[in-house]
Each structure stands twice: as C-alpha cells, then as structure tokens.
C-alpha cells in the first residue's frame, strides 16, 4: 500500500502590499536593494484575518478540488507556527468548522518553513499504518503579524498564504512518494526566533527583566520575529544541497530525472545560489516569491500551484518539494504526481 495526493491547492488573502509601501517605510534606495536581494515585489497580507479563517478557506478548496466531502476525511493535520489560540489546537477548531466527523484524528504540527514535507510524511505514516484512510494536510501561517514594521530584514519578506493537500491510500506500493530526506539542528534556534509570547517569556517585560536583552543585544524587537540572515544563509548552504542529494538517492533518481523542484520560497538570492550549487537548470525551479513573498510552510505548495497554473494539460510529473528554515529544520519529499490534482492559487 502507498499514498497518493488527491488534491493540492493554495490560497492567499486578497489584500497586498508592494514596493510602494516598502519604499514609503524604508526609503527608495533601501526598497530597491531589499527587493533585489529577496526577490519580493508584492506580498499578500491577512491584516485582520486570522489563521483559522484562511486555513478553513484552503481546506474547503482542497475538498472541493478532490470532489469529496469533509465527512470522507478522517485525519486533519495543521502545520502552523501562528495558531489561532495558545490553546486549543487550530486543528481541533477546524474539524468542527469544516464539518468533519467526530472520529477525526486532528493534530497541529508546530513547524514553519520545513513543515510541508514533514506533514506529508506524518500523513503517509498514519495512512500506511492503517490508522487513517484519508488526511487533509493544511500548511500555513499569518507570518506578516510576526514581522516588526520597522524591521528591514523581515517586514518586506514575510507574507501570508496557506496550502492544503488531501492524501489518501492507494494500492500501489510506492504510491506518489518516491523519496525523502530530513534533518534538524536546534543549535540554530536563536537565529530565527520570537522570544516572547509563550512559555519562555510570557511578556515583553520578562525578556528585559531576565537580562535576555543583554544576552541577545542584536534582538531589537523581541516580541516580533528576529532573523539573522547571514546565519540562515550559511545554514542553508551547508544543509540543503546534501539533503536534496540524499532524497534523490533515496528515490533512486538522478537530479535530471526530476521535472520540477519546488523550493521553499525563502529568498530569491538564496534559492538561485542553492540551485546553481546543486546544478539544477533555472527552468526547473519555479519562483513565485516576487508576487507572494515568503509564506513559510505553504510556500513550496504555492510554488507548485503557480507553476502548473498555465499548464492545464494533465501529466505525470516527478516533483521535489524542498523546504528548510526555522528550527533549524529541513525536509524534502519527492513525489510522482498527476499535475491535474494541483489547483491554481486562489485569492480569498
């Protein structure tokens, strides 16, 4: 027994910000420089809308695209680092909101950029162990709410988007997954972190009274995301190319046999460098962050949906989803998919 992807979709909120807003906030010279490096010209922003609302929209779209009902699904995995509440888990509320049965297995997975392959591997394991038949995997964050408006390294980069995938069992042993690789290095936690708001520092005041402001003097906005771009860049150069090679080896494929590499849309400069380092042709690495920014765990799904939007003819494709980031955490899955299951990005 294996698993197949029945549908894969993504949504973004309608509201956008673009270079004009970034120019007004940081000045023209900075805006041009930031855009040139990140590759971002426009981003979709949730504003008053929340994770639950957007995850719900993505879930409904995935169910419609699959041609089933919510009652036909017995597993719900929600990959997010911007949950609706501190408790309960967002997956529990979504079970009710989507109209799924009370026998649903519902679980939040607290991962960011690397979350989609991890969620997929979790769903696959639950299905193959016969605990579940069909899983709705939703990946997404309202990352814009974590970016300090004054912070040039995060505000012009982090945007909002959600991907949703329905995964189900199939009789084929290999199913749609051909290979995988993953890894974790928690020693890098301090290079991409929000210090306050949960157990370690419940309040901003606690950050200062504990002396963490002196331990981490580089953190200017401790209740927003802090990112050390140089450290993250080095981590990615060190870990991502070997991960892709390991996943290819696991799949018993050469890099040329992959049709499309859907990278986490972290930063345009970084993706191009890694692509060159691995030796993948430009046309095999779709980039959509110019229009959608870095949307965390949904971004590799967005890249696939954007790539196949103008390729309506259905065909079997070998797609590598390559994700990496906060944690540090990294993961790749290589899938053999029918492109007709991939829906275009909807604005909601």
């Amino acid at each position: 027994m294996g698993v197949i992807v029945r549908s894969m979709v993504s949504i973004v909120p309608k509201e956008t910000i673009g270079l004009q807003e970034i120019t007004e906030r940081f000045g023209e010279e900075n805006a041009i420089r930031i855009s040139k490096t990140t590759g971002v010209n426009k981003m979709h922003i949730a504003n008053a809308r929340s994770t639950l609302e957007l995850a719900y929209e993505a879930g409904v779209y995935a169910i419609q695209k699959a041609g089933i009902t919510a009652q036909d699904i017995d597993g719900l995995l929600m990959v997010t680092q911007t949950p609706e509440y501190r408790l309960p888990s967002t997956a529990c509320i979504l079970q009710d909101k989507l109209g799924m049965g009370k026998s649903t297995f519902a679980l939040d997975i607290g991962l960011g950029c690397s979350g989609f392959p991890y969620g997929f591997l979790t769903a696959k394991s639950l299905i193959e162990s016969k605990i579940l038949n069909r899983v709705l995997l939703i990946c997404g964050d309202v990352t814009s709410m974590n970016a300090a408006p004054e912070d040039q390294s995060t505000y012009p980069l982090f945007a909002d988007g959600f991907g949703a995938v329905i995964i189900e069992e199939c009789s084929n042993v290999s199913g749609s997954m051909l290979g995988y690789a993953f890894g974790t290095d928690g020693s890098g936690w301090k290079n991409l972190v929000i210090h306050t708001g949960l157990s370690h520092h419940k309040t901003l005041e606690s950050f200062y009274t504990s002396g963490d402001n002196e331990r981490y003097p580089q953190v200017q906005y401790p209740d927003y995301v802090y990112m050390d771009g140089s450290q993250i860049f080095t981590f990615c150069l060190r870990e991502v190319p070997p991960m892709v090679e390991k996943a290819l080896e696991n799949a018993k494929l050469s890099k040329d046999e992959i049709d499309v590499y859907c990278f986490h849309q972290a930063n345009g400069f970084l993706i191009n460098h890694i692509r060159n380092k691995i030796g993948i042709p430009k046309e095999k690495v779709p980039m959509c962050m110019d229009r959608y920014g870095n949307t965390s765990s949904s971004s590799a799904i967005l890249a696939a949906c954007d790539y196949f939007r103008d390729k309506p003819e259905a065909k079997k494709c070998k797609i590598a989803f390559v994700a990496f980031g906060v944690g540090y955490s990294w993961s790749t899955v290589i899938m053999d998919m029918d492109s007709s299951v991939i829906g275009e990005i909807q604005e909601v």
Binding site: I34, T37, G229, S230, Q231, F233, T234, L237, L270, H273
Partner: protein, 71 residues
Amino acid sequence: MKRIEMMLNILQVLNLDENLYNEETKLEMIDFDSVAKLGVISAIDIYQNKIIEAELLEECLTIGDLVDLAF
C-alpha cells in the same frame, strides 16, 4: 584561485568604487550590511567551494580580512 582574483570577486560583490579597491579598505567605510554579507558568503562558496560561518564576518575589519576567510 589566486588571492588577487578572490579579492576582485569580493570587491565585485560589494559593488565598490574603484578608489576603494584595496585590501586595507576598512569595512566601516563601506555599506557592509546584511545584503553585502550574503554576497561575500556566496562568493567564497562559489569560487572556493568553502562555506564560511557567518559569525566570522563580524570579526573582519578590512577587505583583506574577508579575503583571508576564503583561504
């Protein structure tokens, strides 16, 4: 790669005026921001196949110190 070639590659990444094409040029005199740091890490990886730790950049005072990282 010769040291001079590596220096030229780094200078190109930093997009400096020609009058600053000198190993003694102090980084405090140029816009050595996060974008420039990514460029230097990238150049050393491309030309020397060497991934340098980002914190080493913080210890560099001159262009020459950056070139040293590549070797």
